[in-house]
């Protein structure tokens, strides 16, 4: 069974068509990246899958249920570009937030928080405040929180976009080992081609005005990905593939200059 099924999905913001007739299926254990220029609707698509905004028409099914039902069943964890940590909570309590809301017992909560902080290598920072951590550490807290309740689906909206290249590559490796350990399905929004190719099992290339899927590229790099994956010829071939697909999407866009800018 596919984890996410999107069919005939269209989203209008007023006169602007942010997404037009999107069709996409994501299977269990996949790591799918959505990539495209600003305004192609990739973040909008992710938010519709998470039922944070509603589509104008079309359907989204998550784990065989409507997206709304999946949200109320807490089927997914989400990581935003901004870590969205609550300053009034310690690191440990931020990670425990979804568990508190799911009424886990204190003991179970504490055990799980410990495990999650180990997973993102933040042991010893339980009692720190979010503002006492660096940007990369904050984002790891956010990932730990999203994974804490074992969601079958992880939605990530440019989670490493604000980080420097070094930190980003390190967190990419970390994310892959978390993906491997947790067994969840990941939908990942980015505008870094290298990041998309390195992480994904499939890259969905999107183009703007109106936002649509222009190509879906399977990434056949061997698993698990390692530091040397980025140096393989196949990696560069695939990066080039994705880049060309992105430019093609852009060129197709040219004949319609009258179309209005869509918001991402």
């Amino acid at each position: 069974m596919s984890v996410v099924e999107i069919s005939g999905l269209t989203k209008q913001f007023g006169e602007t068509t942010a997404l037009q007739r999107i069709e996409l299926e994501i299977a269990e254990r996949e790591f799918v990246s959505l990539i495209g220029p600003s305004g192609c609707g990739k973040s909008t698509l992710l938010r519709i899958v998470g039922d944070l905004i509603e589509p104008t028409s079309g359907t989204v099914t998550v784990n065989g249920k409507p997206a709304r039902q999946a949200r109320t069943d807490r089927d997914y964890g989400i990581v935003f570009q901004d870590p969205v940590l609550y300053d009034w909570r310690t690191v440990a309590k931020n990670v425990a937030l979804p568990l508190e809301m799911a009424r886990w017992s204190r003991q179970r909560r504490n055990e799980r928080v410990q495990k999650m902080l180990e997973l993102v290598e933040l042991q010893g920072f339980e009692n720190h405040r979010p503002w006492q951590l660096s940007g990369g550490m904050q984002q790891r807290v956010s990932i730990a929180r999203a994974l804490s309740f074992d969601p079958s689906l992880l939605l990530m909206d440019e989670p490493f976009g604000a980080l420097d290249e070094m930190t980003r590559e390190r967190l990419n490796m970390e994310l892959l080992s978390i993906w491997d350990a947790s067994g969840s399905t990941i939908v990942f929004v980015t505008h870094s081609i290298a990041e998309a190719v390195f992480l994904s099992t499939r890259v969905v290339v999107m183009s703007p005005r109106p936002g649509r899927v222009s190509e879906v590229i399977p990434i056949d790099l061997p698993q698990p990905r390692t530091a040397t994956t980025r140096e393989e010829p196949r990696f560069f071939e695939l990066v080039t593939r994705v880049r060309e697909a992105l430019h093609l999407g852009h060129d197709l866009d040219r004949p319609a200059p009258a179309a209005k800018e869509a918001t991402a």
Binding site: R71, Y76, F80, V84, D87, F125, H128, M137, R170, M173
Partner: protein, 276 residues
């Protein structure tokens, strides 16, 4: 990643009550020097210019009047402080409750907020002679509690409401992803976000509560109230005693303010600026 050197991590600020209440004694020294200087200057100027006592008594005369009448002054101050405290608790409490209601039902808030802001900007103390009559007559404690409560009400309401509604959109989006209900959004996001705003309002309210109670008493109050005492002493030209009364009002007012500021420090330990 390798265990990676943590970047810019400060220890979680912890400290005893002394740390919470304020800076270390050394940090207070400059302020103390200024106080001593001002009092000395005041004393020196009066001795030097032979100013009339009714214009401004010498600090030493005030201090000696304070010492002589200390029991009467303290008990009068305490009486008025109770009125101020009652008004503070009542007015602030009602304001916080109303702010929660207005934040929950936004159209109501949109309709009422302009009036709250306007009321916050007018000198409500002008109503004191009238409210004295509304709430059980001029001599009662409740009439002073009422005027103090009304004075406290608006700044706390306006600030708390502003805090409850200035939540970051992404904080709400996270709550939505957890399918959180309204009560949970208030408990976990809106109320914590509003606390720094609320305390700003509460600190303003402590000052207003004392003003409300004392000025209320100027328009008539119990004989053992500090406002009445200040008024009667100045009418019979006992200016040293009147000033000693003002000093007592200042001390009680400061005590209330410091108590709320200390509570703020304890409650808002998570705010970067208060824990420094």
């Amino acid at each position: 990643m390798s265990s990676g050197a943590p970047v810019a991590v400060q220890p979680v600020p912890r400290g005893g009550l002394g740390r919470l209440v304020g800076r270390r004694a050394v940090d207070w020294l400059p302020a103390l020097v200024v106080l001593v200087g001002i009092v000395a200057l005041w004393q020196g100027l009066i001795v030097w210019t032979h100013a009339q006592q009714f214009l401004l008594p010498k600090p030493t005369s005030i201090a000696s009047a304070f010492w002589t009448d200390k029991h009467e002054l303290w008990s009068a101050g305490w009486y008025t402080f109770q009125e101020a405290l009652g008004g503070f608790v009542l007015g602030s409490g009602l304001a916080i409750l109303l702010a929660l209601v207005l934040a929950r039902w936004r159209p109501l808030g949109t309709a009422l907020l302009p009036y709250a802001v306007a009321a916050n900007a007018i000198p409500i103390i002008a109503f004191a002679p009238i409210t004295n009559q509304w709430f059980g007559g001029g001599l009662t404690k409740s009439s002073k509690i009422a005027i103090a409560a009304i004075l406290c009400f608006f700044p706390v309401l306006v600030n708390t409401l502003r805090g409850l509604t200035s939540v970051r959109p992404q904080d709400l989006e996270l709550m939505r992803s957890y399918a959180a209900g309204n009560v949970e959004v208030f408990r976990r996001v809106r109320i914590p976000t509003s606390l720094p705003f609320m305390f700003t309002g509460l600190k303003v309210a402590t000052v207003l509560a004392m003003i409300g109670a004392v000025v209320g008493e100027y328009f008539g109050g119990a004989l053992n109230a500090i406002g009445v005492l200040i008024l009667s002493r100045s009418r019979v030209f006992q200016f040293n005693e009147a000033w000693a009364g003002v000093l007592v009002v200042c001390l009680f007012g400061l005590a209330l303010y410091i108590a709320v500021a200390a509570l703020e420090r304890i409650v808002l330990r998570w705010v970067p600026s208060t824990s420094e």
